[in-house]
Amino acid sequence: MVAADRRYNAPAKEPRSLLAGVLALLVHIVFIAVLISGFNWKDEHPESMIVDIWQDLPQPVPQSAIKKTASSAQPERQTKPAPETKPDSKPIAETKPHSLKPVPAQASPSPPKKPEIEIKEKAEKPKPAQKDPQPDLEVQKKKAQEQETRKKAEAERLLREREEQKKRELDAQNKRAQEDQQKRETAAQQKHEQEEKARLEARQAAARAQVAGEISKYQAMILAKIKSRIVMPPNLPGNPATEFDVTLLPGGDILDVRLRKSSGYPAFDSAVERAILLSKPLPLPPDPALFNEFRNLHVTVHYLE
């Protein structure tokens, strides 16, 4: 009985341990599949993020280039229109040779006409020479008639030729007139373009002047505000000047103040630095596009004004 009891008390076999192993494997396979699909799904997100970043970045750059830094935009504008006008002038130069070429072509047909006339004159001249022998009257008459008919024919020919010449001359004149007109038109166009350019430049210059005026106005305001807060240390010899680099945040807050060039008097330097920090919301132009001009301010303060 004791032996039987011991045998009986031996732990029973665990049920379905193989099935448990298979299920464990299955769970892992499912989880790995979910994980992989999750990673693939996340893979696409960084792309769109990067696209957004690139779309955002270039925008402020042209704005700053066009609006804010008018002084830096000037050379760009001046250099850019120049290549634009060159292609304009080139076509004009190309049209001129075209219009010039036909002129010699028309001039060349007219010289050959003159030799014809000369030939005719020469042909007329031998006629009196033919009259010299003066044989029979009838013959002479016939010849005279023939000559008359010839003369008439020649005269008709001459008339026709003259008319043709006139026509040709008229055509040439018309053509020349047309060319002149074209030239005038192109000249007018050029003038127009130049005027437009001048207008644009004038506008740009005005805008630049306005921007520059705005910038200088606010620079003066910033300097005035800083100066109003300086507590000057007394009795410094000479007129020392201290220079600071101030980094601004949009809104006029001061991010950083760095001493660029000391005056040699630490009391004066620190007084100016304190004044800069005290005048914290610095006056900035309302146009945020102009802020780039003020991002890195260079402040120079003289001891004696």
């Binding site: 009891d5 049920p15 341990s17 099935l19 299920l23 464990a24 892992h28 994980l35 990673f39």
Partner: protein, 229 residues
Amino acid sequence: MNAAVTQDLSLFHLISSASVFVQLVMLVLLLASLVSWWYIFRKWFLLREAVKQSDEFEDNFWRGADLNVLYQRAISSRYTSSSMERIFVAGFGEFSKHKPGANIDMMMDSIRRAMQATYQREMDRLESHLPFLATVGSVSPYIGLLGTVWGIMNSFRSLSNISQATIAHVAPGIAEALIATAMGLFAAIPAVIAYNRYVSDTEKLATRFESFMEELSNVLQRRAPTSQE
């Protein structure tokens, strides 16, 4: 497109490009996870079966079946019998071994000891592998963290050679290192949940067994005087 955007961030690429130590950590965690899930399922089946068999046996027992019949049935099916059945067999076997006229207190003591021994053995069987689940649940996050710290250390060390450091240089290394933490958590969370669940299940079973032991000893004590007579 993926190649253009710094690095390929697929799971397999991250794992294969990780350092050997991190890969080792991942392997350990994967094995721990596999084994813990295997135990989770095994214990699930075991406990479910134990509860079901206990229900059946208690049902039979309290229906007033003859104890001798129950004992014979349990002996004949010794390898498929339930824990409660075994406790009953141990107690009733001890009871039947006693000759009539013996000291009741001594008899009851020996019956209780026999049942207690079987109960301990059964509880040991039911609670087996639970410490493993507890270990996996508490340690695998640390193992994963170790792999992550190691991977991040490596990625920052490689950063020192680059003059212009960007997030793109560190990001893949950190991502592959963080996989170790993810795996650690992946192994730990089910293990902890299963451990808590199974501990409460076995405790419930234990109280059932203990109360059954008390009830059985009462029943047997009541039968003792009659056998003495």
